[in-house]
């Protein structure tokens, strides 16, 4: 019992230290925001790496997201809900939730891990120290381009994801559910609200911020050589994924009033 309490206490303290560290990095980031223009080429490079190079994976995931959503919705609708609402229900699910969240979770694994691994390796090989000694603020040089890229590129990726998911949903509806494309799209238009799209993109922006910040923080705080880099990479994915799901709920309660 004592060991359990000690363990919980230590976890609480470590969590508070972690949160404090991320907030402190965020404060430094706000301080260097005015110098964003000076980091323009670095930011563009990150946008390419984060956005453009992630597109094939996002497209692949989104096709199956739309496909399985349609199939399982049709399964649940049969005998209870008219199929003319299938497009609307699937469309709302994709725009509000599946598109932003699944894209973000995939990106946490791809981009978040890559950021943590790269910055963690830089930390244990003293490259971040080298930046400091060269008078270059590592937060401005390394974190700012990644965070800005995350905030801007994840909504862009989610837009692509939404479109591809809807196409995947349409194909499954027409080919396997035996619903006409016109009925599916009419159902989508019937229940579509622009707020659903914007809310999804707001979520995506927040998720991009989380992925980039956590990846950068894990990388910056890496200790212990190659093993430490491995821990940082895993930590970046796990922490970002949990925060994505928590923030998803919080944003939803704020944006969607019942």
């Amino acid at each position: 019992m004592r060991t359990f309490i000690t363990g919980v206490g230590r976890w609480l303290v470590d969590s508070l230290v972690y949160v404090g560290g991320v907030v402190a990095m965020g404060a430094r980031l706000v301080g260097v925001l005015p110098r964003l223009f000076g980091s323009f080429r670095l930011t563009i490079a990150q946008m390419l790496a984060m956005g453009v190079q992630s597109l094939p994976l996002v497209v692949l995931v989104s096709v199956f997201t739309g496909a399985v959503s349609t199939w399982q919705a049709a399964y649940q609708f049969q005998d209870y809900v008219p199929m003319r609402y299938l497009g609307g229900a699937v469309g709302k699910a994709i725009l509000i939730e599946l598109g932003p969240v699944l894209t973000a979770l995939v990106m946490a694994g791809r981009v978040g891990a890559a950021i943590a691994a790269e910055l963690g390796t830089m930390r244990v090989t003293e490259q971040i120290d080298a930046l400091e000694v060269m008078g270059i603020d590592p937060v401005r040089y390394l974190v700012l381009p990644r965070v800005v890229s995350g905030v801007f590129m994840l909504p862009v990726l989610v837009l692509f994801a939404n479109f591809v998911a809807l196409m995947g949903a349409l194909v499954v509806a027409v080919v396997f559910v035996d619903l006409s494309g016109e009925v599916f799209l009419n159902g989508f238009k019937l229940l579509f609200r622009s707020k659903d799209l914007y809310a999804g993109l707001i979520k995506a922006g927040m998720f991009g911020l989380i992925i980039a910040m956590i990846g950068c923080y894990q990388g910056f705080t890496t200790r212990g050589g190659a093993e430490g880099v491995g821990r940082a990479t895993t930590g970046a994915v796990v922490v970002a994924s949990v925060l994505i799901l928590i923030s998803d709920y919080l944003i939803a309660t704020f944006l969607f009033q019942i």
């Binding site: 090989t125 120290d129 603020d137």
Partner: protein
Amino acid sequence: MIEIRGLTRSFNRHRVLDAVDLDAAPGETLVVIGRSGCGKSVLLKHVVGLLEPDAGTVTVDGQRLDQMDRAGLLRLRLRFGFLFQSGALFDSLTVAQNVGLALLENTDTSRQRIDEIVAERLEWVGLAGLGDRYPSEFSGGMRKRAALARAIAMDPEIVLYDEPTTGLDPITAEGINDLLVSLRERLRVTAIAVTHDMNSAFKIADRIAMLHEGRIVFTGSVEEARATDNPMLRQFVAGETVGPLIPL
């Protein structure tokens, strides 16, 4: 130029530096020697503010590092060059980009002028024409040279060397020693080097200090170090296992 007073630092309750007092005068090369893991690199990182002491002060040209804000510390660091033990070259940049990065990020120097300075520094360190290679394509000795070119790119007043010859074969190490001596003559810098390579220490030093169990146990000229009757320094210089220093 550099004054260290009462510098104390612990890691996980292990005291690494214990009230260290040390000075480096303008234009001199001070070499700090000591056993592996005795805190030499930790001491060096305090000089440039990469680490903050638990107690004590580091003063550079009358400015105390603990009284500076972050912007002031970054400005001060522009006067430094630092050669890290492993080089710490940026893997994603070419060697030329590495050498020119500080100029690009901190000054309004034109790209053309930066290229000229980079080419000059690479020539000084014997890497002329190799700037378009990546650090991963270099041997250990070449990476050290490239890192040295980067450390002096901004014409620093103070250069810090962390184990400049560690991990290098004797011939390559001697080449690095010759390079450090030539750069001292060329740039007239103040330098602090930490090493356990006595051959290197005797070659490049104006003064030698020995760090042992967190304290400075000897400071003096190279001649004084060679002639000392300090038993720890004598044992360390001779590389003997018998004496007050117990093998790790």
